[in-house]
Amino acid sequence: MNGMVHLRIDDVAVEVAEGASVAAAIARVTPRFRLSRSGRPRGPLCGMGVCFECRVTIGGEAHALACMTPVREGMQVRTGG
């Protein structure tokens, strides 16, 4: 039933199952989702949209929560913000 979805994470092509989160797609490329205020790497903590540690830029929209966003074909994602 599940097809595959193709997206780009920091210009790396990634293929994940339909229904997966953007966080799951990013994890295939890097464990570092963003930099903290003092420049230290961070990744998801809560997995449910509370901690905001997984925020990335999705399709040009900054501060999007990767754990709450289902993947869509052709998505462009930027980490490290």
Binding site: P31, R32, R37, M48, F52
Partner: protein
């Protein structure tokens, strides 16, 4: 223009689904809202690789005809106007209700420890949630740590997704957990669940009376040091899933002006019919006190029936709720946090992850307000949802006064030009 309904249910986990099912029918117009893209809440979160449990499928079928709006974030609400503003990926929307049922669930308690902000360190339920939506753990080495039955459930999920669970690190003492296990005959269905869970975790060592001393790694996690009953053990791993239990998500109730309990982690106060202190607002499930899925479902059903005036049907469920609450009390007693769990952080440990505030930077202050003003602790993107609960445990700080809108960070457009927005900017 606001969309109106008779009964608005916030949260589509076990409590919210039970509430919606109980209230629906008999010509009552019910609307179900949730922040996640799909129904199920955390415990029945959709798993892209595995079929939903039978009870979850049943609960979802019962609300198949109920109107719903998922993937929303609450921006603002007004109990007297009976209006709620949310935003989804594209738009802001308003909903009006005649009766409101809060089933906003719980969050994980993430206590600070050295290395706890390294990528690869997550909550226990946190990693479980990520994995259900495709986070790759096949062949990865995972240590599950913290406290409570959720550790076993998370470890079992991780194994089902082919992770190598190296150890479960439970802070509660072995004799307390064993005494709890021996008393499970009083709840035969729970005993059956526990036996099943242990079978799924065969071969996974469980350390009791054990805590994480530190997560290690340069830039990303590569191992953990645990203190297992006084003995230091180093484990190389790819993931550390650490959760110290759950705390009620009472934030929306607080925004509406609902009275809360006086606990370290406040819950929404309800009466026997699950009514809050605010007229026509009910609450059910974990947001009224942590107690697990059975308590949540029964409270949800009581709230749903009570909200549509079926008081006698609601009252018939009181005995079942009492039984579920007794089980919840036994769990809470068994997994009470040992004082050691509050002293894991050292001075350099980050407590507020949004603003990079260390424990040392907070020690000079006597309350949350002073600490916030001087350090910005709790004022970042998560608005104190993570560090606030931790500091309530560590220092006994009461974190929130009356919350301000927006409840979650929102787009400016969602705040602009409509009725509720005017109230937000006095």
């Amino acid at each position: 223009m606001a969309e109106r309904c008779d009964v608005l249910v916030i949260g589509a986990g076990p409590a919210g689904l039970a509430a919606a099912a109980a209230a629906a029918g008999q010509g009552v117009d019910v609307m179900l809202l949730d922040a996640q893209p799909r129904a199920g809440g955390q415990v029945w979160r959709h798993d892209i690789a595995h079929r939903a449990p039978r009870r979850a499928r049943h609960a979802l079928r019962r609300v198949a005809a109920v109107k719903r709006h998922f993937g929303i974030r609450v921006v603002d609400a007004d109990a007297s106007a009976r209006m709620l503003r949310v935003e989804d990926a594209l738009h802001a929307r308003e909903f009006g209700w005649d009766r409101l049922i809060l089933a906003t669930g719980a969050r994980e308690l993430c206590l600070p420890f050295p290395g706890g902000t390294l990528p690869g360190v997550t909550g226990a339920g946190g990693l479980q949630a990520l994995v259900k939506q495709g986070w790759p753990v096949s062949g990865k080495r995972v240590v599950v740590a913290g406290s409570g039955p959720l550790l076993l459930a998370a470890a079992a999920s991780l194994r089902a997704h082919r992770a190598r669970v190296l150890a479960i690190v439970e802070q509660a003492a072995r004799h307390d957990v064993h005494a709890f296990a021996r008393a499970l005959w009083r709840w035969p269905d729970k005993l059956a669940q526990a036996v099943q869970l242990r079978a799924r975790l065969l071969g996974v060592p469980i350390h009791y009376g054990a805590v994480v001393r530190a997560a290690r790694g340069d830039g990303t996690l590569c191992g953990v040091e645990i203190d297992s009953a006084g003995v230091s053990v180093e484990l190389a791993c790819d993931h550390l899933a650490a959760g110290f239990g759950l705390v009620p998500d009472a934030g929306f109730g607080r925004l509406l002006g609902c009275e809360l309990t006086a606990a370290t982690q406040p819950a929404i106060r309800v009466d026997a019919l699950q009514r809050t202190s605010v007229e026509s607002v009910f609450a059910a499930g974990e947001c009224c006190g942590i107690g697990g899925m059975d308590k949540a479902r029964i409270e949800g059903a009581i709230a749903g029936h009570a909200a549509v005036g079926d008081e006698s049907v609601a009252r018939a469920l009181f005995a079942a709720r009492d039984r579920a609450r007794r089980f919840a009390d036994a769990v809470a007693h068994t997994f009470t946090l040992d004082p050691r769990t509050r002293t894991l952080a050292d001075g350099e440990t980050t407590v507020c992850r949004c603003e990079d505030v260390t424990l040392d930077a907070l020690r000079a202050f006597h309350d949350a307000r002073a600490a916030k003003l001087a350090t910005r602790c709790g004022m970042g993107a998560c608005q104190g949802r993570i560090c606030g609960a931790a500091l309530a445990e560590l220092f006994g700080w009461s974190w929130h006064g009356h919350p301000r809108q927006p409840l979650f960070p929102a787009r400016l457009a969602s705040l602009a030009d409509e009725s509720l927005a005017r109230r937000s900017c006095p």
